[in-house]
């Protein structure tokens, strides 16, 4: 497990405390069994984890309905409050992460259009500049497999500083390897989205293969698994 974390963390450079304000987009598909999601319910009791269940969200009142995005405004309100509370703790600034699991179902849960979901994502994006937090978005590509790549996915890819894609192996099914992960990291001009800071300008591409275990995902370089 330690090895797995080090491999992915090295690629993402997550241990670097100056990485606040990044946007990470994760695209997976059904063949990879949602490998990059994990069991977050276990973390509910932790004070460091604020869990917002969209399925049990209250219906928007008349005033909120007038805002057209209804439930999404309410969701944004809850997220901002949670981020404010977490960031107010000494030492926690730039260390808060907002995770959305998953964006493809937000349309269904909130009963809105994909354009409204884009608006919601934009407002979450502003939190990365206001509070220096990191935004991680999970999306399932095959929800849209019957149509061309939807605008929502493309818009997220434009926003992303890090793009992680999971795919099945090209050779088919294997017992020891459940899929491959490719990371594309743009270290261009923005570290914290609200501020422009010079950084080592580079793009980084990493390819791993992974195996799903009970409570985590093990990543390794192709050919290194015996």
């Amino acid at each position: 497990m330690n090895q797995t974390r080090n491999l992915l963390d090295d690629a993402l450079d997550l241990n670097n405390n100056n990485n606040g304000g990044q946007v990470v987009v994760i695209e997976d598909c059904i063949e990879t069994s949602g490998a990059l999601g994990c069991n977050l319910a276990m973390q509910r009791e932790s004070e460091r984890f604020h869990f917002l269940d969209m399925l049990s969200m209250h219906c928007p009142d008349e005033e909120e309905e007038k805002l057209c995005e209804g439930g999404l405004v309410s969701l944004y309100e809850k997220i901002q409050k949670a981020v404010e509370v977490s960031s107010s703790t000494e030492g926690n600034k730039n260390s808060v992460t907002i995770m959305i699991d998953d964006i493809s179902l937000v349309e269904v849960a909130a009963n809105v259009s994909s354009n409204h979901v884009s608006d919601f994502l934009h407002y979450c994006l502003t939190l990365t500049s206001d509070f220096g937090c990191t935004l991680v978005i999970l999306s399932h590509e095959d929800v849209y497999s019957s149509m061309e790549k939807p605008m929502l996915i493309l818009q997220m890819e434009y926003l992303a500083d890090v793009l992680i894609k999971t795919e099945p192996l090209a050779i088919g099914l294997a017992s020891d390897i459940h899929g491959q992960v490719s990371l594309l990291i743009y270290f261009l001009t923005v570290v914290n989205r609200g501020r422009y800071e010079k950084r080592s300008l580079k793009t980084k591409t990493s390819n791993f293969q992974f195996k799903i275990r009970d409570n985590n995902v093990e990543c390794f370089y192709p050919g290194s698994q015996t």
């Binding site: 005033e63 500049s129 261009l188 001009t189 609200g194 501020r195 580079k202 793009t203 990493s206 390819n207």
Partner: protein
């Protein structure tokens, strides 16, 4: 060329002419449109500050980056004087474009976020109301340059963000009004072409006098394929691609050039396209059923034609400096003369036309503007 685009924005437009307009167009295959936009922004800002440009101020409509990003960007490029010398104003459509935060704050649901506020920033909370946006742009622009004949430039980041909220016809109307305003010298905007249908991209290109299109170089495409298929870890310290620049001139001609770019810490650098990718620098003649090109024989015959003003009509030998090649002169029987020989002037009481033929190096109908690279 990218620098010729920056010069065109710097020079603006003539009296009675629509403002110069630039579209920076990218796609996910080469998603560096923001970098090109930022490069053009800093170049124009630098020209405004040094009083080299027609426009004396810049109104920036920020939709996909926060105002603080742009102020930091300008500072990093050494452009720091925007507090005492008011030449730039940013309309903040990034932080609250739909008024959500204001609504939540008014209903005591969230506190207002205290963020660094710059004097020359105005937040606007209704991106769907383009009439209000237009009024705001004109108002702050006039505030920068005064009520006289001073002119300002307008930049929009990005029109793709606007098209999520407004119709194409509304956006086209806004851009058209901006271009037609007396005090607006130049405009430029960013467009992500794969987020829209072909019609939207075509409309915006049609409205532009200049279009910069970002593309992957064939080298970077092959490299990316190799990376995705074979390599476990790949890191490169710069971002590369190529741009195709299409410029419409005042005489109606269209010039298309291709360049390669390299993005590193210091900014963007442009270089001439490699020979493999220079195919775009070809004739723009349309493919029609009749021939518009000259064959070699036709070209030589054309060179052999003696123009009416090249002879005196009195049977005397033509003596004229001729820049034509030795091969053609051999056929005419005229000795090549490296020095000028004026035709003999007869005292006939009539005027003579003394014609010095220009060099034949320049192709006919060339639209090369020899003054194009002047930086006055």
């Amino acid at each position: 060329m990218a620098e010729s685009v920056c010069r065109a924005l710097r020079d603006g437009s003539m009296e009675g002419e629509h403002a110069a307009a630039l579209t920076v167009k990218d796609s996910m295959k080469c998603p560096y449109g923001h970098n090109v936009f930022n490069h053009v922004l800093t170049q124009l800002s630098s020209n405004i500050l040094s009083s080299k440009s027609q426009s004396k101020g810049l109104v920036l409509v920020a939709l996909s980056q926060s105002p603080s990003f742009y102020y930091d960007l300008l500072r990093s490029r050494g452009i720091v004087d925007f507090v005492t010398n008011k030449w730039i104003h940013i309309l903040d459509g990034y932080n609250d474009p739909l008024g959500w935060k204001k609504w939540l704050s008014e209903h005591d649901k969230i506190g207002s976020i205290s963020s660094e506020i710059f004097a020359s920033t105005t937040i606007f909370r209704n991106i769907k109301d383009l009439d209000q946006l237009l009024s705001l742009i004109i108002e702050v622009g006039k505030g920068l340059v005064g009520q006289g004949k001073g002119r300002f430039s307008v930049a929009i980041d990005s029109v793709s963000e606007m098209l999520r909220h407004v119709s194409l016809s509304s956006l086209a109307g806004l851009l058209s009004k901006l271009r037609g305003h007396d005090q607006i010298s130049s405009t430029f905007w960013l467009l992500h072409s794969d987020l829209h249908d072909i019609k939207a991209t075509a409309v915006l290109e049609y409205m532009s006098t200049m279009v910069i299109t970002l593309e992957q170089t064939s080298e970077s495409f092959d490299q990316q394929q190799t990376i995705l298929e074979n390599l476990s870890l790949h890191e490169q310290n710069s971002c590369k691609g190529k741009i195709q620049v299409r410029m419409k001139r005042r005489n109606g001609r269209v010039r298309v050039t291709c360049e390669e770019f390299d993005i590193d810490q210091s900014g963007m650098k442009f270089s001439s396209a490699s020979p493999e990718s220079a195919t775009i620098n070809q004739s723009l003649l349309p493919k029609v059923q009749f021939n518009l090109q000259l064959t070699e024989k036709e070209r030589m015959d054309k060179e052999n034609v003696v123009l009416p003003f090249e002879h005196q009509g009195n049977g005397k030998t033509i003596q004229i400096y001729d820049g034509r090649r030795a091969l053609t002169e051999g056929k005419k029987g005229t000795e090549p003369t490296p020095t000028q020989q004026l035709p003999a002037v007869e005292d006939s009481g009539k005027g003579d036309i003394i014609y010095f033929r220009d060099s034949d190096d320049e192709m006919p109908d060339s639209d090369e503007d020899p003054d194009d690279d002047l930086d006055i």
